[in-house]
């Protein structure tokens, strides 16, 4: 929780990691990819305030103590949601697997939630694994990487028939929250990793599932926004938006926030630190302090109030994950800024 000027914020971090990217975990023959991946993440850390930068050695592998201090003690986070990321082609034990995340969840059961994953290319075995994981870890959500490499394939689409089977399985198992990575840093080749049209397709076909688009489709925010206006079950995952822009490029940050508030709306935006890429503390405190610049360029974006910040920092995610939020953090008025509903077909890929 974070208290500031008499306001109490219940903080849910929608996307964090506890990874091991140290050289001991690199797959032999794949070292350049394992090294490149973590170095690329480390470059992103450079977009945060200088006093929060870590040396690469710590960044490759940080301790449980670091995690607890950065996230719970200093970072104001009440509940954190692990997005498991396997990358076993490059990391022998995985980058941050559900098993490893679950160990921490066991120690802090009220503070952490671990999401699972699936990959339609794993077929029947994948479906069975998903079922086992769901039962064993009581999964409420999964994180999907459509651009992940697998046995020579460099990506997949949610539109594929195999994906439909996995989504049906999710529905059956009560896994309601589907986080989809649509953002920077993964190799798009023939499959365009940033293309959000596959989310559009499944959001329509699976209205009972929630689709959280992580990194808001960066670098294609516009495609994401035009899609999200039309799909009531599509949410904006703000990992990278706050961490990558608020400090490094404050005016661009204000514009992106303005656009998201206009097109998507404050009820469907979820903050996430993307720890350990960035520590939560400066993000939470900075965001609570943040106001949009006054000049005319920003004048017709919706204003974000303290209540709006409360929703984005935790209340929206708490709803999706059924997290009990004590009364003192609730907001009295439920009225939110409605998102634009115009027919938003600007740039047709046809």
């Amino acid at each position: 929780m974070y208290s500031h000027n008499g306001d109490n914020f219940f903080v849910v971090d929608g996307h964090l990691h506890f990874w091991d990217a140290s050289p001991a975990n690199w797959v032999s023959g794949q070292e350049q990819y394992a090294k490149g991946w973590i170095e690329c993440f480390h470059a992103y850390m450079g977009l945060g305030p200088e006093e929060t930068h870590w040396p690469i050695e710590k960044f490759q592998k940080y301790s449980e103590d670091d995690f607890v201090k950065d996230v719970f003690e200093d970072g104001h986070v009440d509940v954190g949601i692990f997005q498991s990321t396997y990358l076993k082609e490059w990391y022998s034990e995985g980058f941050n697997t559900l098993e490893k995340n679950a160990e921490l969840v066991e120690k802090y059961p009220d503070r952490l939630i671990a999401n699972g994953r699936w990959d339609p290319r794993e077929g029947e075995a994948g479906l069975r694994q998903l079922e086992e994981d769901a039962k064993r870890y009581n999964l409420q959500g999964v994180k999907l990487y459509t651009a992940e490499w697998y046995q020579g394939s460099r990506g997949w689409s949610l539109k594929s028939p195999e994906s439909q089977r996995f989504l049906e399985k999710c529905q059956e198992l009560g896994i309601k929250n589907i986080h989809v990575h649509k953002g920077p840093t993964i190799w798009p080749l023939d499959k365009d990793a940033f293309d959000v049209s596959d989310v559009d397709y499944v959001a329509t076909n699976f209205p009972e599932l929630n689709f959280i688009v992580e990194h808001v489709g960066l670098p294609r925010i516009e495609d994401f926004c035009f899609m999200a206006t039309q799909e009531p079950n599509v949410y904006a995952g703000l990992a990278v938006v706050i961490g990558g822009l608020m400090h490094a490029r404050p005016r661009f940050f204000a514009k992106v926030m303005g656009e998201l508030l206009f097109w998507v709306g404050e009820d469907k935006m979820l903050w996430a630190s993307d720890y350990a890429i960035w520590e939560p503390r400066w993000q939470v405190e900075g965001f609570v302090d943040w106001t949009s610049p006054e000049d005319v360029e920003f004048s017709d974006y919706p204003r974000l109030t303290t209540d709006g910040k409360k929703k984005i920092l935790g209340l929206n995610a708490a709803k999706l994950y059924g997290i009990d939020v004590p009364e003192e953090f609730q907001i009295s008025d439920e009225a939110g800024e409605p998102a634009a509903r115009e027919d938003a077909q600007l740039v047709d890929s046809a």
């Binding site: 350049q32 990819y33 490149g36 991946w37 170095e39 690329c40 470059a43 992103y44 450079g46 977009l47 460099r154 920077p184 840093t185 993964i186 190799w187 798009p188 080749l189 023939d190 365009d192 990793a193 960066l218 670098p219 294609r220 925010i221 516009e222 926004c225 035009f226 990558g244 822009l245 490094a248 490029r249 661009f252 514009k255 992106v256 656009e259 206009f262 097109w263 634009a340 115009e342 938003a344 600007l346 740039v347 047709d348 890929s349």
Partner: protein
């Protein structure tokens, strides 16, 4: 102007297809050498080793084609450095091959053309938004703005780039054609202008934000590279 200056000038016409900015002003051209017998060696470095191979290929191939148009230039080598698929892309460019040949069995050139066209349309929308906003700021009404013809456009960098993009997309740009068009080339009507501008502004924001992240990451990369070199000496 010597050959190197002309090569750099040619490179300044090559745009990052995703950001719609010249690769020279983005800082992607890290070295450009011209030998006494006019052989050219160009090195490109992108903000991260994981920058999308499809866009990386387009920039490298466009750079080579732009320089090849200079009659005085001999052999040209374009090299993408510190990129995961650099080897494949460099080899394909050197052979004069397309993107598909760089990654056999993994993609085809049609997809690359579609992607390029999609981004040309986005770039056109975003550039037009800037021109349009300036006119509205000058006090023109939406009707007056949408009645503008190509001949009415001021001769500035944004307008020139718009016409270049229209040419590439096969959207008419004779002096009497409408100055502002939807991505499909249809003229924009006055009553649609507000929403059209809202959408266009979002596309503009997206391009600008990506450009700024790319610049930041490239700076961090160069700084770390310099630090490592210093440590090494």
């Amino acid at each position: 102007m010597n050959t190197r200056a002309r090569v750099l000038e040619a490179l300044s016409k090559v745009h990052d297809p995703e950001l719609d900015e010249p690769i020279t002003s983005l800082g992607f051209v890290t070295s450009c050498e011209v030998s006494p017998d006019s052989e050219v060696e160009i090195v490109l470095r992108l903000p991260t080793p994981q920058c999308a191979p499809n866009f990386a290929y387009l920039m490298a191939a466009d750079a080579r084609n732009a320089v090849r148009r200079l009659p005085e230039v001999g052999r040209i080598e374009v090299r993408l450095e510190d990129h995961y698929t650099g080897e494949e892309i460099n080899a394909a460019i050197a052979r004069g091959d397309g993107f598909a040949a760089a990654f056999p069995g993994e993609t085809d050139d049609d997809q690359l053309d579609t992607l390029r066209e999609l981004f040309q349309r986005k770039a056109l929308v975003a550039r037009q938004a800037r021109l349009c906003k300036a006119l509205l700021a000058d006090g023109l009404t939406p009707e007056q703005v949408t009645e503008r013809r190509v001949a009415d456009l001021r001769d500035d960098a944004d307008a020139r780039r718009c016409l270049e993009l229209r040419g590439q997309l096969g959207i008419g740009c004779d002096p009497d054609s409408p100055a502002f068009v939807a991505p499909n080339g249809e003229p924009v009507a006055a009553h649609e202008l507000t929403l059209w501008l809202r959408k266009a502004r979002l596309v503009r924001t997206s391009l600008d934000v990506n450009g700024s992240i790319c610049r930041s990451l490239l700076q961090i990369r160069s700084r770390r590279g310099a630090e490592l070199e210093k440590v090494g000496t």
